[in-house]
């Protein structure tokens, strides 16, 4: 027990030094990208079946040259506030390194000012929740420098839902029920055997 505990302590101490509180804050970014997605307000998409088409581009109302540092775009599926309620693991944190709002990646592309679009089939591991789409622009140091999203600043408009797969299959259901029934029946069998043995030893 000494060896694993020691190893654990050392590796955890080292990871302490790595963790730090500097990084990019969401509040420091401007919404210079305009992002639209095909789902309409309140639409329900089925995971594994339905598709989302995302289009994004530089918002021309911002001064020319603002996007000179943008190198890549990452488009993500993000949780709306209602799906974050009472779920600390989806919490919105200003320090983007620790932010858990947008865990699902849709696509990553090199930056182009216009004519960007991508059609994505909602993957089968996306949980049932309410979502919006957000795109981040990254510079050459892989830091976020700008963003754009399909909803407003309060994340209250233009939200859509995904209905997840259940993960259940008929074969699983049957196996589950059969094994359960077998356990109970075999128990009854055991009691019967015990009674018989008890009588026999008289």
């Amino acid at each position: 027990m000494e060896v694993p505990a020691g190893f654990l302590i050392v590796s955890l101490l080292l990871s302490c030094f790595v963790a730090s509180s500097y990084g990019v804050y969401f509040s420091s970014l401007n919404a210079t990208l305009s992002v639209t997605a095909t789902p309409t307000q309140g639409q329900v998409l089925k995971a594994g079946e339905d598709q989302i088409t995302v289009t994004w581009g530089f918002n021309q109302t911002y001064p020319v040259g603002t996007d000179s540092s943008y190198k890549t775009i990452k488009v993500k599926l993000c949780y709306a506030p209602i799906s974050q309620k009472d779920r600390k693991w989806r919490k919105t944190v200003d320090l983007l390194k620790k932010d858990k709002t947008c865990p699902h990646k849709i696509v990553a592309r090199p930056y182009a000012a216009s004519n960007n679009s991508f059609t994505w089939t909602v993957e089968r591991d996306i949980p049932s929740a309410t979502y919006f789409v957000r795109a981040f622009a990254f510079n050459a140091q892989d830091e976020q420098v700008a963003y754009g999203q399909t909803t407003n600043a309060h994340k209250s408009t233009n939200l859509f839902e995904v209905q997840a797969i259940t993960g259940r299959h008929t074969s699983l259901d049957i196996a589950s029920i059969c094994f359960s029934a077998f356990s109970v029946v075999s128990l009854a069998g055991f009691f019967y055997m015990e009674k018989r043995k008890g009588k026999a030893s008289k």
């Binding site: 955890l12 963790a19 075999s186 008890g198």
Partner: protein, 503 residues
Amino acid sequence: MEEVVQNPDNNDRKFALPVDSEHKATEFRLLSVSTPHMRAFHLSWISFFSCFFSTFAAPPLIPIIRDNLNLTATDIGNAGIASVSGAVFARVAMGTACDLFGPRLASSGLILLTAPAVFLSAIANSPAAFLMVRFFTGFSLATFVSTQFWMSSMFSPTVVGTANGLSAGWGNLGGGVTQLVMPLVYSLIHNNIGSTEFTAWRIAFFFPALFQALSAYAVFFWGQDMPDGNYNTLEKSGEKHKDSFSQVLYHAVTNYRGWILAVAYGYCFGIELTVDNIIAQYFFDRFDVDLNTAGIIAASFGLVNMFSRPIGGLFSDFAAKRYGMRGRLWMLWVVQMGGGLLCLLLGKIGSLGLSVAVMVLFSVFVQAAEGLTFGVVPFVSRRSLGVISGMTGGGGNVGAVLTQVIFFRGSRYSTEEGISLMGVMIMCCSVVIMLIYFPQWGGFFYGPKKGVTEEDYYLSEWSAAEKEQGFHKMSLKFSENSRRQRGRKGAAVPVQSDPPTIV
């Protein structure tokens, strides 16, 4: 498998281990599987391990399950409380079942009855269903009682602390091992077989379910209740009297020591269960480690059980050699207080490395206290051993429910405040240990009453009419064998031999 049937009055050595007059083993040989003693040990710890494994199989997979079933933090917390609350009454019921039907049937029966809950976890489809399966799976933790009862039936008082500590500690290990194994089984199914996440965790649950069912079969076919045979054989031959349920219950409930030990156990084992449910989240939230690291830390809390609980049992037996029952009580109090102090400290520490170190030390004390508690339990009653074990065990779960409801629910206290306050509560509740007094052996502050013998204590559980019919024979033998609980000083005092009360 043939059971070893022996006439209890026959003393020629047919056993692999040395035995006392009740044919209980006086030595404990860990690496042996000889029938019936050591085999009973291995069957009981493995089957109890499988129950712990199943009960805590969900926590390491929560990140997947909570997305599949759309669980909120409240749902997860409630399911955690449900998983330990079922066993509160199940443990008492199990105690009674052991007294009446024997540990072999009682434990294999319960394990097979709760296996469906584990199988059906695979088809849970909502927060309510998740709560239900965790609730019913948790009933299986009542096998703890049958484990302790079985060990107390197979091993002599000089080694019963060790046997109880090892079987319970290695069983509790299941709660730690599951945090490591379930994620492995899951990734095997998800990555190697290619099932999607939401299907893979469901298939993964068949592993603990099958393990549990198979261990029940092993107990039924290969175990036996007592060194001389199973209950039904012994009862039919007249060697064991089939006791009356109401009498057994009465003598357990009216023995105040059982209630005190229930409180003591609530503040060591109950704490262990609480920590099993909250510790991964604590490290994840407070120290920002990732989920896998939090899982490893959580696992190490439970894995320490491998030696810490057995050490408690050993310490109990060791203290008894010199100071008898009083030594067992003193040792229990000291270790329980130590655990409370470390718990208080744990909540106050802000650095990760030190926190993990204190947590591991804290787990050693808590689990040793569990072993020490069950070093005392076998002596509280002979007639109602099962119900007393059940009450103490049930008290453990009550402690878990209480602490989770008071300190770890909602946002009144932060988790670290809750942990420190829990430490204070442990220390306050350990005061009750000082109130236990055995007239034949003494208690925390006072020595034994002069002239009171073990027979006086154990035979007081039987009425004159029952004694006339010879129902109390095993209590008589137990009294003889528990003479060593007087410690070194007391053993020198000659025992006045009472005139035989039966013909």
